[in-house]
Amino acid sequence: MIELEGLTKRYGDKTAVDQLSFQVRPGMVTGFLGPNGAGKSTTMRMMIGLDNPTGGSVRIDGKHYRDLAEPLKYIGALLDAKAMHGGRSAYNNLLCLAQSNRIPTSRVSEVLDTVGLAPVAKKKSKGFSLGMGQRLGIASALLGNPEILMFDEPVNGLDPEGIHWIRNLMKRLASEGRTIFVSSHLMSEMALTADHLIVIGQGKLLADTSMADFIQQNSRSYVRLRSPQQERLRDIITEAGITAVSVGDGSIEVDSATSEQLGELAAGHQIVLHELSPQRASLEEAFMQMTAGSVEYHAHSDDSEAADPGLPPAPRWGQGSTKKNKGA
């Protein structure tokens, strides 16, 4: 169990993490979602005592991280795949970590085996590919067989096989009753692995909800209809007391009726249908809508659709980052 209370981190006058309070509970995968620059990594660094919070606190099983005697036995963290000395072999990189936490040396070979790096255990980690680096980072997280595991964007740079492996690994670890906290900026990835979801944007908590609820609330389902007699079809649907919206490409979208109802309605009036399909807006869209106001770095296209007048303008690229760099 990890508890955050009013966690705040400021760099100069830029607030990277703003009054963040939530809990990460055991026995499930908690997804930590936010666009780039939302403060995910900063939050995770504060959780394991690497960065000092400006305000608020993080408690791990009721204790501060720095008060844990052998932190690797409580928490395993993969924050940065390349956070190893490249001139040292994979085995020795893990060995010195094990020694500092009184973990038996035999565990080193065990975890290297778990992540599939046993054949290159004696090779310098400098020559590792991004995927191998991620696996080595995961091996270091698993070293103490901890009850809490934190992964910062673990699928970055992995091939499909590696992504599949890591998804299953996280699910297996969670099913053993461990607390899994994993960050990502990909909603689709989270939808596959996470049971619970925490969404932040510009350092602020936007959502703290179960995955199922998030899907239910945020993915709009509707029925799309296309017909050569579009005008008539629309009138009929409206007469039946159902709201229909014409979309630009000559189709009609209906939110509040099932495809069965609409099909029968059209058949009753002998209208030819070219399409009758139930649709579901993607979670990615829902996520983008939720965080649209708080995206740190926008790509600017000439297309006017990029700028939504209903949302506060996000800071231009570089505007907020100068201070951050100075403080970091």
Partner: protein
């Protein structure tokens, strides 16, 4: 906040906490020492810096020992030939000292290290102890070897007193190891290999260059004299009983004491900064 709905892949009921099967017992400095010992012996920079220091001290030392005449050692200790290699070899020890800390910042390893050992002081203390032990023993062996070889070659030249042996071998090794320790502290504060090595080269070399230049001006004469007397090359020479200038007949103990004070101050600074900064 709503209760999460269990998903099909979770066979086990939720809420059943997991505890690491590895028993949790408290760790102490000894574990940090073991960890740092593994670190220092498993990177190539250690072999290179210590190796080059050894080649310089022993190689140049033996060359000098063979070249000079028996008469030179009538009123000078047998350890003197080691001094010439040591003047260059100290750079290797300084480089290793800086790298012991700053290479971790350069590679990002420091985040892994501090995640594993949030008691940061313990990590830095272990680094300093392990580094000091490694460099001091390597230096004692190198200087001792040159001294013994010189004594063997010039066996007719009289004898070197025990005090002179100790000052050359132990004092010389201690002085250079302290410089290295200072480099560890500077590396920890600057966190950047090239910057810290440059700073340390400045500490070692600048006083010996600036000192004589300042001497040109009458008003700066006092400062100039101190710089000449206490700069690193001259301090080492004094420990080997041949100070190049100032404090004739001095035995180098004042200089050793000054370096110890400076190093202690830098170490205190590095420990004070350690917990305050983000990594």
């Amino acid at each position: 906040m709503t209760a999460p709905t269990p998903t099909p892949y979770q066979q086990q009921p939720m809420g059943g906490g997991y505890t690491s099967p590895i028993p949790v017992r408290s760790t102490h400095l000894g574990h940090a020492l073991a960890s740092e010992w593994t670190k220092i012996r498993t990177v190539r920079s250690t072999i290179w810096t210590i190796g080059v220091m050894f080649v310089l001290v022993v190689g140049i030392g033996l060359l000098v020992a063979v070249q000079v005449d028996d008469r030179e050692f009538v009123d000078a200790p047998f350890t003197i030939p080691a001094l010439f290699g040591l003047l260059l070899g100290q750079i290797c020890i300084i480089t290793l000292g800086v790298l012991v800390v700053s290479s971790e910042y350069g590679t990002g390893m420091i985040r892994t290290t501090f995640t594993a050992s949030p008691q940061r002081w313990r990590v830095l203390a272990a680094k300093m102890i392990v580094f000091f032990a490694v460099s001091f023993s390597a230096l004692v062996v190198a200087i001792g070897l040159v001294g013994a070889a010189t004594a063997g070659i010039h066996s007719d030249a009289g004898s070197t007193s025990g005090g002179d042996w100790a000052r050359g071998v132990l004092g010389g090794a201690l002085y250079v190891s302290l410089l290295g320790l200072l480099a560890v502290a500077v590396g920890s504060m600057l966190r950047h290999s090239a910057g810290a090595i440059t700073a340390m080269l400045g500490v070692v070399l600048l006083p010996s260059i600036i000192g004589p230049i300042m001497g040109i001006s009458q008003s700066l004469q006092a400062i100039s004299d101190k710089l000449i007397e206490y700069n690193a090359p001259n301090s080492l020479s004094a420990l080997f009983s041949i100070p190049m200038s100032g404090d004739e007949g001095g035995n180098g103990m004042k200089q050793l004491a000054l370096l110890a004070v400076v190093t202690a101050a830098a170490m205190a600074g590095s420990f004070a900064l350690l917990n305050k900064r983000d990594v």
